[in-house]
């Protein structure tokens, strides 16, 4: 086959073009891998923050249910608990477009919310409820385990 005019003038054009294409392909692949890695790290960090919020809410909940005759601190703690509970729900809703959390953790979240803010929560003169301390921590642990499992499943899927 006869050489094209460009090949006649620049015999190494094919080699240069091939090298350039290879470089661009390699660069693009690296960009995609970096983007994937960054996305995975960000998701993982968000899930860690979510688990930390669950722990903080559980601690605040235990403090609330063990506190007596201190209306100011009860008010402060109850506001903190509802705020954290809502922040947890907001983050789950936010992350749900990337990782299915809402349906798969719904039952555990309901148990956690009921343990934290059910019964006589925010009732004036509510009695101490020591039994709730175990319920809160058990529900928090179950929720954290499930959140981490969802994360691991999602990251494993993204590796494929």
């Amino acid at each position: 086959m006869a050489a094209s005019p460009a090949e006649t003038l620049f015999p190494e054009l094919g080699t240069i073009a091939g090298a350039a294409f290879g470089y661009i392909l390699g660069f693009a692949s690296q960009l995609v891998l970096e983007w994937l890695s960054s996305s995975r790290n960000q998701l993982s960090a968000r899930l860690d923050e979510l688990c930390a919020d669950v722990r903080t809410a559980a601690s605040a909940g235990c403090e609330y249910w063990l506190l007596e005759n201190d209306e100011d601190n009860l008010l402060l703690l109850s506001a903190q608990i509802v705020g954290l509970q809502h922040a947890i729900e907001g983050m789950i809703a936010h992350l749900n477009s990337r990782i299915e959390l809402d349906e798969s953790t719904s039952a555990e979240r309901l148990l956690f919310i009921e343990a934290l803010t059910g019964g006589k929560f925010q009732v004036v003169g509510r009695p101490l409820e020591r039994a709730r301390i175990m319920q809160i921590h058990a529900a928090a642990a179950a929720l954290i385990i499930l959140l981490k499992k969802c994360r691991d499943d999602a990251l494993r899927f993204q590796m494929r």
Binding site: Q85, H86, E89, I92, S106, T117, F121, Q122, V124
Partner: protein, 108 residues
Amino acid sequence: MTAVLNIAKEYSRAPAGRYRADGPATGERFREDFLKPALERSEYVEIILNGTGGYGSSFLEEAFGGLIRDRYLTLPEFRRRIKLTASGAHIIYKRAIESHVEKAAGGK
């Protein structure tokens, strides 16, 4: 006709507490002064849960479970006449209400 009750706009952005004595925006007050009158006026009531900074489970149980416990509505009536609307972070509260009314109907 369907009445629409937007809790954040018409009641409080920070609903809290169970009984009237617990504060200005409690579950009992919502049920007695807002929800029951809306159900008297209209066959169907749509309740918009979005817009608040969250709900304590005690508020939701008193406001909605209380309707069943007080025998104001049966569970089938509740499901037929009340529509709960929620999105995003508020979806869980809709599920919590459904759980509370089912428990109240079961006497738990």
